[in-house]
Symmetry: C2
Subunit: 338 residues, 2 copies
């Protein structure tokens, strides 16, 4: 099958670019020093490709991601880097005998829910500056004690400096990440355990060796948001755009054209998508209106670059893997939902 | 089952508010003078409720919506109010012998694709100001002639004034809608046919009787964007919020709390969601960080009001229908995808 034959909108991923991105990250963060975050793609086939590049530990954002990874035989060491008090879902994770699933906790309630559900191991999630989850750094020791008293193994700490993924001034980013890392390492000294888990695609290069693992996900497929951020911090982006939402031009006027890729096929929280060589005007439910120097024709195929890859992939059933013009595989996006 | 028992995030719809919204619209636009747009909910069970309020013609944005509506026995008169040159999907629509499916066309290519696929009837889609689909008004006659020459029945015209759904000045909105309507009626005079289809939830009250049908969808469930717009134009919104994304508080700090409703459970193109009585700070993939005067507790349930209902519903598997605290039904969101 050729790209031309795909019904649109369709997520396409360039196999060679994906492999180059995975290799570039594995060179900096080999093996278990990277715990790839599957929330960026929600696709066990892509996770399997990451395993082929040497990583067999994975990060998940939802119980369904963890359970789906375990079912796909990718459960050697899964981290739910998120809080939940849903006892049914915690139990479903705990029942996975072939998988090791560690759960993040940041409160008495999440510790108690994990223990009650039969979860074996936790990480203490420490707030290192992003106003989201994570306990206060000075509460980490008490929480670890509570977890151990409840019979939970405490493998260490995690903290996510999401507010520092994109910082305009690269020097300022380095300093602020170092401060966040310092906070996490001090909490780790209180908690103990072998794991210090942190970071993402915007900061993977800034973590010292005592951060034992980085939770990057977007690096595999990339989006326009991270491409701009990494170009800013690195001079040139170390990862290339590997995925697009392929669309068909369905309407053309003298000033603009319309492609059938809209809000329901794109994550919009980082703004409009990008069309190389064109100017995006706006998106509607099933449309993106754009202008091009050379007017496209109805039926033309257009590659739309998402501004945020994670919520984009979550809206699609499958990834179509391409090699040049050839469609060489279909990977189900099988970890959607909760 | 009670709301308390639902796993989160979950779309909940208040049955009584939904019925009140459907009744309020049916009072202004009864029977076939409204062609409810199913893209707002993608749910055949909800469409069936709209039919119970007197509407048996429906608007769709994707072939899958049209085919799914036909399969659910709701195919008395379906309009694909969108362009496609996907011959396979056009053929799948044409094959539906129990349904009447009319397709919008705005170019030679879309006319020819419809004819080649065996589609029987079209509407000429006319651009009335929104830079998206629709032919130039002065091209409508030629396009209708081409369609008839290809053996297609031309049922009339449609035009969508999407740029006028939300206008700060109500008087200016009335004038501009009247101008758009005038453009559409002049094109209709050129084209002929019994249908003049237009409008949406932001303008349904501004169309004269010679607009034979209005394509509103969001009125059924509502969102914060339309609530603000309709309050502005009406003084008080004629439709109430009938749907929320229910979440669970998973983390609490002294200044903020986190609910497990994030970017992957919300349409974000109209900005952040609303939490009544609270202040939303920001959303992440699986989280919304917010503040409340009274600090919530981990495990509390929170109702999140989406800023844009259409792309929100498209991210969920099902609607949970509620009556007070009781969950009385589960409606699959069965028209997702393309």
């Amino acid at each position: 099958m050729r790209i031309r034959d795909l019904a649109t909108p369709a997520v396409i991923v360039d196999s060679a670019v994906l492999d180059a991105n995975l290799a570039a990250m594995a060179a900096v963060r080999p093996g278990r020093s990277l715990r790839p975050h599957v929330k960026a793609h929600k696709c066990t086939a892509l996770a399997d490709r990451q395993r082929a590049h040497g990583h067999d530990t994975f990060t998940c954002a939802t119980p369904r991601e963890a359970i789906g990874m375990a079912a796909a035989g990718l459960g050697a060491d899964l981290l739910l880097a998120n809080e939940t008090v849903d006892v049914q879902r915690l139990r479903a994770m705990a029942r996975n005998e072939d998988a090791i699933i560690t759960v993040a906790v940041d409160s008495d309630e999440t510790v108690d829910a994990a223990a009650a559900a039969g979860i074996q191991q936790v990480l203490i999630d420490v707030n290192i500056g992003l106003p989201r989850c994570g306990c206060r750094p000075d509460a980490a020791r008490r929480l670890a004690d509570r977890a151990r008293a409840r019979g939970l193994g405490v493998r260490g700490v995690m903290g996510y400096e999401g507010h520092l993924m994109v910082v305009a001034d690269a020097a300022a980013q380095r300093i602020r990440v170092a401060e966040a890392v310092d906070t996490l390492l001090r909490a780790h000294a209180d908690v103990g355990g072998e794991i210090v888990s942190s970071g993402g695609t915007g900061t993977y290069h800034l973590h010292p060796a005592d951060i034992t693992e980085v939770q990057a996900g977007s690096y595999a497929l990339m989006d326009s948001h991270y491409a701009a951020a990494l170009t800013n911090s690195h001079g040139t982006a170390p990862f290339r755009q590997a995925c697009w939402v392929l669309g068909t031009v369905i309407s053309v006027s003298s000033e603009w054209a319309v492609v059938d890729v809209g809000l329901k096929a794109l994550g919009m929280d980082h703004g409009n998508p990008v069309i190389d060589g064109g100017t995006v005007w706006f998106c509607s439910d099933e449309h993106t209106t754009f202008a091009m120097p050379t007017r496209p024709m109805v039926g033309d195929r257009i590659r739309v670059i998402p501004a945020h890859v994670d919520p984009t992939l979550a809206q699609h059933d499958a990834i179509w893997v391409i090699d040049g013009d050839e469609v060489i595989d279909r990977w189900p996006i099988d970890l959607r939902g909760w």
